[in-house]
C-alpha cells in the first residue's frame, strides 16, 4: 500500500442505502476519476446507462496526504457508446490471483449486485492482486466500470485495467487505465490519477479494443492493505 492511513471507524456502525437507481449521466462533472476521464465516448452513439447504487458513506474522513487525487466524482460520466453496446460481463466466469478470497466469492464481481452493504463484496489478499473476467469470445469493448468498495472514501493503489485475447496476459495486452505512477507493481508506469471510490464507480474507455479477457489489478487501499471488488461491468459490441 503506497499511502497507509488508519481511518477511525469509531464503532461498528456501518450503514448502507437501499436500492439502485438507473442512471445516465448528467454532466461532464463525473470524469471517470482519471486524468482527463474517459472522454465523451463514441461519436454518434448514445449515453451509456447503467444501474447506479445509492450513495453510502460511513462517515470516515477523506484520505489525507494525497495531493494528486482526481476530483471526486459527483455524477456518472456522460459517455456515449455505439447503439449495439450491451453488457457482456454479467454472469461470466471470474478468476483471481487469490485462489481463496478472504471474504465472499469472485463470482460476486459479475453478479449484477452493486450495493455497499454486507454480502456484496469480495475481499482479496494484500499486495498486488488481480481479477480476470472471461467474456467467452473476443469482441470490441467500449467501456469498463469498476466498483471496488464505495461505502468509505477510500483510494485503491495501483489500479490497472488491461484487456487481451491471451488468458495469461503475456501477449497482445492493452492497458486502458493505470495509476501506478511509480511503477511499483512493475506493469509499467501509469499516468492516470488515483481517485476516491464512489457509488458511480470508475468508468474506463475501452476504445473499441477487441478482447476476450479483462484483467483488473490493485494493491491495497487507503484504509487497509487488502483488495476489494463489488462489481465490474464490461460493455461491448453485442450479437
Amino acid at each position: 500500500m503506497k499511502t497507509k492511513l488508519f481511518i477511525s471507524l469509531g464503532v461498528a456502525a456501518c450503514f448502507a442505502l437501499g436500492s439502485c437507481s438507473k442512471e445516465e449521466a448528467s454532466s461532464a462533472d463525473g470524469s471517470g476519476s482519471a486524468s482527463g476521464g474517459p472522454g465523451a465516448g463514441f461519436e454518434g452513439g448514445s449515453p451509456l446507462v447503467t444501474e447506479i447504487p445509492k450513495a453510502v458513506i460511513e462517515g470516515s474522513p477523506r484520505p489525507k496526504g494525497m495531493t494528486n487525487l482526481a476530483p471526486e466524482t459527483k455524477a456518472f460520466p456522460k459517455f456515449n457508446v455505439p447503439e449495439d453496446a450491451t453488457l457482456l460481463s454479467k454472469g461470466k466466469t471470474v478468476t483471481s490471483s487469490d485462489d481463496f478470497p478472504i471474504i465472499g466469492e469472485v463470482d460476486m464481481i459479475t453478479d449484477g449486485e452493486k450495493e455497499a452493504g454486507e454480502g456484496y463484496f469480495v475481499e482479496l489478499l494484500d499486495g498486488l492482486q488481480w481479477v480476470q473476467i472471461d467474456l467467452e469470445k473476443s469482441t470490441p469493448l467500449y467501456a469498463i466500470i469498476v466498483w471496488h468498495f464505495h461505502s468509505q472514501k477510500r483510494v485503491y493503489s495501483d489500479v490497472i485495467v488491461q484487456v487481451s485475447n491471451d488468458p495469461e496476459f503475456k501477449e497482445g495486452v492493452t492497458t486502458l487505465f493505470n495509476n501506478d505512477y511509480d511503477n511499483s507493481s512493475e506493469l509499467g508506469k501509469g499516468s492516470d490519477q488515483p481517485y476516491l471510490e464512489t457509488n458511480f464507480g470508475l468508468l474506463v474507455n475501452a476504445k473499441a479494443t477487441e478482447a476476450q479477457y479483462v484483467r483488473l489489478y490493485s494493491k491495497g487501499n487507503s484504509t487497509n492493505e487488502l483488495n476489494h471488488y463489488i462489481e465490474v461491468e464490461v460493455w461491448g459490441k453485442g450479437e
Binding site: F6, S8, L9, G10, V11, A12, A13, C14, F15, A16, L17, G18, A55, V56, I57, E58, G59, P61, F100, P101, I102, I103, G104, E113, E115, A116, G117, E118, G119, Y120, E123, L125, D126, N224
Partner: protein
C-alpha cells in the same frame, strides 16, 4: 452515588485485586504453543475492525471463530488463514465452542449488544479472559452480571472503551488536566457525535446470503433486517446514545473522575420515524466534582453531520481542551486572562498553533465578545489503528505485564448513567440518581 474519591478508590482496588491475584492470567504454565490462544466471537464489521487491530500484535494464535452467520464465519476463517496460515476451528454456537475448545485463553467479543453480557459471562465462567466491545449490555442488569462474573471468576474483562488507552487522551488527562491544571476549574463539558442522514441508513444485506429463519429465531432475531440493524431495536441495544454516546460519556466520567448526580434528556424520532430508538438525543448531566459543580451537555444526532463529527470538550476558567480520536478535531484553547503557557510549550507539553486570522472589521457587536483564545495542538498522535493500544493493554495484562485500562467495574461505573438517558427522554423528566441506580 459515588464521588470522585470513592470512584478512584474503588477503581484502584478493583485493579489492584486483578494484579495481585493474577500475575499472569494465562492458564497454569501458559499455553502449549507459547502464544495466547484467542477465540473470535462475532466477526461482523466490528469484529473485523478488532481483528485488523490485533493482526499487528505479536504472540497471538487465533484458534476459533464463532458467528451465527455463515458469511461472517467464513470471512473470519479467511482472515485468520491469510494472517497466520492455519485454519481456525469454526463454530455457530458459543456453547459448543466452549465445550470443545479446552485450551483457549481469551475471547474477543464483538456480537450485538444484547449478547455481550451472556457471552461474556459464559466465557469468564469457562475460565477465559474477555475483551468485550462497549456498550457492556443493552440493560444495566446485564452489565452488572458482567462485573459479578469477572470478580467471581478472577479472570480479566476489558471493555472496549478504546480511548482509555489512546495516548492523546491519557497524556491530556494525566499531564495537562490533572498535573498542570491547564483548564483551571472545569465548569462545563460539551460533546457530540453527529452523523449525516446518508451515513445513518439501514444496512443492506445481500438476500442470497440470508440466515435460516430458525437459526435467526434461536439467537434472538426476528429477521435479517433485525440481524443487520440491531442498533435500531430497543430489545437488542440502547440506540445511538449507547452505541455512539457511550464512548464519549465514558470520557466525561473518566476525565471528571466521578459519576453525575442527575440527567435530563430529550429525544425523538425526528427523521427516521419508523425506528424504535430515538434518532436524535440530547442530554444534560450535572456533576458535583471535587473541584466544583460541572454541567455537561452531550448530543448524538443521526440526522446531520453538523458541528464537525465527534469530540469532547472540557471547558475551564483558564482553558478548554477539545479532544477527539481525530487529530483534526483536537486542540487546546487558552483563555486570554489565563497565566501564560509558554513554559509548557518550552517544556514540550504543548505545541502552539499559528495565531488565528484577525477578526473582520468591527461591526458594532465585536465589543461584546471575549478576546480570541490562543490555540495549541494536543500532543499524543496515534500512529496505530484506534483499537490497537487498548487491545495491547489487554493482552499485556493477560501476560501479567500491565493492568487493565478499563476493566468491567470501571466501565460499569462509567456506563451506568448512560442507561438512564433514554428513560429520562421517554419520561421527559430529570432523573436525580439514587446510589442504587449507578452501583453494581
Amino acid at each position: 452515588m459515588m464521588d470522585r474519591r470513592e470512584f478512584l478508590k474503588r477503581s484502584s482496588i478493583a485493579s489492584a485485586g486483578l494484579v495481585l491475584g493474577a500475575p499472569s492470567a494465562l492458564a497454569q504454565g501458559g499455553s502449549k504453543n507459547g502464544k495466547i490462544n484467542v477465540a473470535l466471537v462475532g466477526m461482523g464489521k466490528q469484529g473485523r475492525v478488532l481483528f485488523e487491530a490485533m493482526s499487528n500484535i505479536p504472540g497471538l494464535h487465533f484458534q476459533a471463530v464463532c458467528d451465527i452467520w455463515d458469511y461472517n464465519r467464513k470471512g473470519g476463517f479467511g482472515k485468520v488463514r491469510a494472517l497466520q496460515g492455519h485454519e481456525p476451528n469454526l463454530y455457530i454456537d458459543i456453547e459448543e465452542m466452549l465445550e470443545k475448545e479446552k485450551d483457549l485463553d481469551v475471547a474477543i467479543i464483538a456480537t450485538p449488544d444484547f449478547w455481550h453480557s451472556p457471552h461474556t459471562v459464559q466465557c469468564l465462567d469457562a475460565g477465559l479472559n474477555v475483551y468485550c466491545e462497549k456498550m457492556m449490555s443493552n440493560t444495566i442488569d446485564g452489565a452488572r452480571d458482567m462485573v459479578h462474573a469477572m470478580e467471581r471468576s478472577g479472570k480479566l474483562c476489558q471493555i472496549g472503551h478504546q480511548r482509555r488507552s489512546n495516548p492523546r487522551y491519557t497524556y491530556t488527562l494525566d499531564h495537562l488536566i490533572n498535573h498542570n491544571k491547564i483548564c483551571g476549574q472545569i465548569v462545563n463539558v460539551n460533546g457530540q457525535w453527529n452523523r449525516a442522514v446518508s451515513s445513518s441508513q439501514d444496512i443492506q444485506v445481500n438476500p442470497k446470503l440470508s440466515i435460516d429463519p430458525e437459526r435467526l429465531k434461536k439467537y434472538g432475531f426476528d429477521n435479517m433486517h433485525q440481524f443487520m440493524n440491531w442498533r435500531f431495536y430497543r430489545d437488542l441495544s440502547g440506540g445511538p446514545i449507547s452505541d455512539l454516546g457511550a464512548h464519549q460519556l465514558d470520557v466525561f466520567n473518566w476525565f471528571l473522575g466521578c459519576q453525575p448526580k442527575s440527567v435530563y434528556a430529550s429525544g425523538g424520532n425526528d427523521f427516521f420515524t419508523e425506528r424504535e430508538h430515538f434518532d436524535n438525543v440530547m442530554a444534560i448531566f450535572e456533576y458535583d466534582a471535587p473541584q466544583g459543580p460541572v454541567r455537561a451537555f452531550y448530543q448524538v444526532l443521526t440526522t446531520t453531520s453538523s458541528g464537525g463529527g465527534f469530540y469532547e470538550s472540557f471547558m475551564g476558567t483558564e482553558g478548554t481542551v477539545k479532544i477527539s480520536e481525530m487529530s483534526s478535531a483536537s486542540a487546546i484553547y487558552r483563555e486570554n486572562s489565563a497565566p501564560s503557557w509558554e513554559d509548557l510549550v518550552k517544556d514540550g507539553y504543548l505545541n502552539k498553533k499559528p495565531a488565528p486570522a484577525p477578526p473582520p472589521s468591527s461591526d458594532g457587536v465585536a465589543s461584546y465578545e471575549s478576546a480570541a483564545p490562543e490555540i495549541f495542538a494536543l500532543p499524543g498522535e496515534l500512529t496505530k489503528m484506534p483499537h490497537q493500544p487498548h487491545l495491547e493493554n489487554f493482552f499485556a495484562t493477560v501476560r501479567g505485564e500491565e493492568t487493565l485500562n478499563c476493566d468491567a467495574r470501571h466501565a460499569f461505573e462509567s456506563e451506568a448513567p448512560i442507561f438512564w438517558v433514554n428513560p429520562s427522554a421517554l419520561q421527559k423528566q430529570r432523573i436525580v440518581f439514587e446510589p442504587s441506580q449507578l452501583s453494581v
